[in-house]
């Protein structure tokens, strides 16, 4: 799974397979991070303690 | 490091079993149990729940009395070389955690019990049912743990195990060779327990690529065949039989096909490699 693990090899199958995996993971990770940070920001910029209204 | 390189000269350890000589006594099985710490249960009659690295099958020619003939077929792990003779055996490529691997220096399919997490995909892949699962915790009654062989690790519940051609004997033989400053081990130094125990000398073991080894000649004999040749698993266990019905029991043939043709086809294929 990682290059420092015994089974790892710098070959085509590993690059293709793990490449796709890490690509997917990074999209998900980036998406999630964005959402969380954005939500934190949104929460902070709102008036504290005020209840929220529906959009 | 030159020594090291010489040692890794590729071998293809294989076995030749002369079915005309096998009397079905089961000494190979028992020797294997004793050598490889194979556990047992009170009820071993369900052979699909019974750990056996080598199992002797009894087959008959299907003819009525008194024309009946029987033949015993001992079946260890076939140590398949794979479809294109490159180690792509049915089980190795499917293992998700590299717990089983093709050992290039010897051609033996390894099984690492401590790596295996018991998904059993390799068992589904093996057409020979050579792979066995530890459904139970192994246990030895009374003080039988005393006879366990320290050269072979005891398998825990929940992992797959199989015949290793007594690889630990190869490891030990190499140790001796190192000590004596030899690069190669002798043919007699590395023999699996079953081959050694066979009381009628029906089993032979050695390097299939080494013309000085007996298996080299025997595996190329006209009487030689392998189990399920047509699946192109390329086993390293060869059988000898002078009877065509035995050969017919060893593979699947469509209507009108004869075992001989198949054998010849395989010969030319192997030769081209």
């Amino acid at each position: 799974m990682f290059p420092f693990i015994f089974e790892w090899a710098w070959d085509i199958p590993h690059l293709v397979f793990m490449g796709a995996l890490w690509y997917a993971l990074s999209i998900i990770g980036a998406g999630l991070t964005y959402c969380i940070l954005k939500s934190l920001y949104d929460t902070a910029t709102e008036e504290g303690g005020e209840s929220h209204e529906h959009h | 490091m030159t020594k090291q390189e010489q040692h890794t000269r590729t071998k293809r350890y294989g076995m030749v079993i002369d079915l005309d000589r096998c009397t079905g006594c089961g000494a190979c099985m028992v020797a294997c149990y004793a050598e490889n710490n194979v556990p047992f249960k009170k009820n071993e009659s369900d052979k699909m729940l019974s750990l056996n690295w080598i199992r002797v099958f009894k087959v008959d020619n299907g003819k009525p009395f008194p024309d009946t003939e029987i033949c015993y077929i001992p079946k260890p792990c076939m140590q398949c070389d794979g479809r294109h003779m490159e180690g792509h055996s049915p089980c190795v490529s499917v293992c998700p955690a590299v717990a089983t691997d093709y050992d290039y220096p010897t051609g033996i399919v390894s099984q690492i019990y401590t790596r295996c997490f018991g998904c059993r995909y390799c068992m589904a892949a093996c057409p020979y049912h050579a792979r066995k699962f530890n459904w139970w915790d192994p246990s030895w009654p009374a003080e039988m743990e005393k006879y366990l062989n320290p050269d072979v690790s005891v398998r825990m519940r929940g992992v797959v195990e199989k015949c290793s051609f007594c690889y630990h004997r190869y490891q030990k033989a190499r140790d001796k060779a190192y000590l004596e400053g030899r690069d190669e081990i002798y043919e007699h130094e590395y023999q699996p327990a079953c081959v050694e125990a066979c009381p009628t000398g029906a089993m032979t073991f050695g390097d299939l690529l080494n013309p000085e080894h007996e298996v080299y000649k025997l595996s190329r004999s006209k009487k030689a065949f392998r189990l399920l040749e047509k699946l192109h698993t390329n086993p390293k266990v060869y059988y000898l039989s002078s009877k065509s019905w035995v050969r017919r029991k060893a593979d699947n043939y469509l209507e009108g096909q004869s075992p001989g043709q198949q054998n010849n086809a395989r010969k030319t294929e192997t030769a081209s490699h």
Partner: protein, 756 residues
Amino acid sequence: MKIDRRCFLSLVIGGAVGTTLTPVPWKLTDDIAIWTQNWPWTPEPEEGPSVYKKSVCTLCNGGCGINVRTVRGKAKKIEGQADYPVNRGSLCPMGISATQDLYGPARIKSPMKRAGKRGEGKWEKISWEEAISTVSKKLAELRSREKPHTVACISESDRGTVAYLIDRFLKAYGSPNFIRTPSFQDSQELALYLTQGQQGTIGYDLENSDYILSFGCALLDGRGNAGRMFSAYAGFDKKVKLVQIEPRLSDTASRANTWIPARCGTEGALALGLAHVIVREKLYNKDFVENFSFGFQDWTDEAGKLHKGFSSLVKEYPPEKVAEITGIAGSKIESLARGFAGARRPVAVSGGFGQGSLDETLAINALNALVGNINRPGGIAAVSEPDYLSWSEMKIDKTASNGRKKPRADEAGSSRFPNTGHLLYRLPEVINSSSGDSPIQALLVAGGDPLYTMPDSDAARKAFDKIGFIASFSTYMDETARHADILLPNHQFLERYEDVPTPAGVPKRIIGLTRPVVRQQYDTLHIGDAFIRIAHNLGGFIENALPWKNYEEFLKKTLSNQWKTLEKQGYWVDPEFVIPSWDEAFHTPSGKYEFYPTERNNPSGKDADALPGFKTSGIPGDPEQMPLILIPYESIRIAGGAVGNPPFMTKTVDANVIKDEDVFVELNPKTAKEYGFSEGDTAILKTPAGRAKVRVHLFEGIMPGLAALPEGLGRKAFSDYIAGKGVNINSLLPEVAERGSGLNRCRATRASLTRA
């Protein structure tokens, strides 16, 4: 500052984030996985230097040389000893599994006395002093009542130092009842004595023969000496022909060049049919028959009475008639006879259906005589014991000498069976039919497992129940030990010294040395030491007869000439053993090989009863009620003798032999169809001796009309790994004594199979 739920939540989140940044989760995940790789309840064998030790296996009478790998004093693996002159490296699965017997649950770990009813399985641990003195007191008491002859001792062998020691003990004590357990040796020894005038065993030189005609002898299925037979088989080249005569396609039959499925119990007739052809076509060895044999032609005795000779006898067995009896075509009989007589070194082997009757053995032996292959390479030879057991005669008291003169309890050597040495078969009947006190008051079981191996085991158990005192010296908790009053466990063979004389069937004179390869595991005592200590307790002449400190001293003194060789290579081959030429070989009244055994016990006085004629098969049971014939079959994967299957062996047994607790009876599909059975059906098998629940297995290789069960199952003792599986075939087989010899005539019985 207000602290609320959210602060706590924050603390937890901080802790969680922090924890992921420490080694805790990662290291623990890995360590837990490593823990599964190394579960404390999964044993880890101790490493150490491998030390190989030579010994001899005594699990059966085969006497194979073994090489035991030990690591730090523990026996790990048993392999055949490559240079051992009997088995030459080959070993049967039983021998390989002996480590399981050594450390297994069947071991009796200390002397014990019965705490409940007989056979109940309740025991109380006692000291060796108490065990020895209990036995001594019982024996002393019987002697004081002038009844030493009511003591009997059962042993698996009558040769070697242990048997000699026990026999010597009984002599000094005053009992004539040293009884060897029955085996195929009985009829062979008797036949050897009657035809050649020699005490000893018949050695078959199978290794050098080129035509082996086996009359149902399960050579490759474990009869006699499996290790030796396998090594002989391994040495056969293409020119060697093996012909197997038996109604079921056994492993031996399947490996034979020719399988002759003669009807069960007609092997003797077939032998006579073959002799007929050989005589008719004058294919016999004229030199031997004319110059070194007696009774081939008709002859006149001193009283002038004309007797029929062997050649006249076989005239009555023309191929057509034999074909009718045996079911083998006449032409086949003729070609078989020509093949046998035409071979360079042919040998005919007896031993079918367990013991084989004397008639049958004599008929088969006659074939060897006809082709003159006696005392020739590839033939048969008489093998007597070496004379190392030559301790000086001892003094015995009057009680002892009176006791010795009493007839044996098993009637062996009596006027009814004057030539037979041991007749354990007879013992149950003698005891059960006696009114009043049992003729046996104390029984010492020094080997064998008679309650399991004797035919009609119900009768045997009934007889044993009448015996007041039973002591077992068994290493394992076997059926007889379970029924004993006191247990004096012997060491397992991997823990003890013992000499192993030439195994039956081997045409050499060999002594092998069993020796301790591991130290004694439990509180056991060598059986030889037990007898020496009992003798010392009894005192007087008995003590003097066994003057040794212990068994080891006795053994070393006995084998003083051979000891060095034995210690070094594990065996000793008698260099002086020469197979004598024909003019010196025979010690019969005629000084020749006797086709007409003049010494044979023949109450009727008729020639027909002296000559080995074929008597219609005496298979017990009413054919109307019991249309099938049940035969036992030997399987190399199931030990049928005194020592039960170790777990390893049972593990090798196929699913169509044992399934869960049930044994399968083999039936020909035709027979099964006739009675409406299909594969796996459960059925009740009935014989004149008993009944049992079995399952049906269809096998094309068995003669229609037969049913076959494996030997070695249906044990009630030993370990959970064999006990309770299947049926004891012996309990289904009635005993049928052969007239004149008392031997069991046929190990087969009529049987019926009905739906469960």
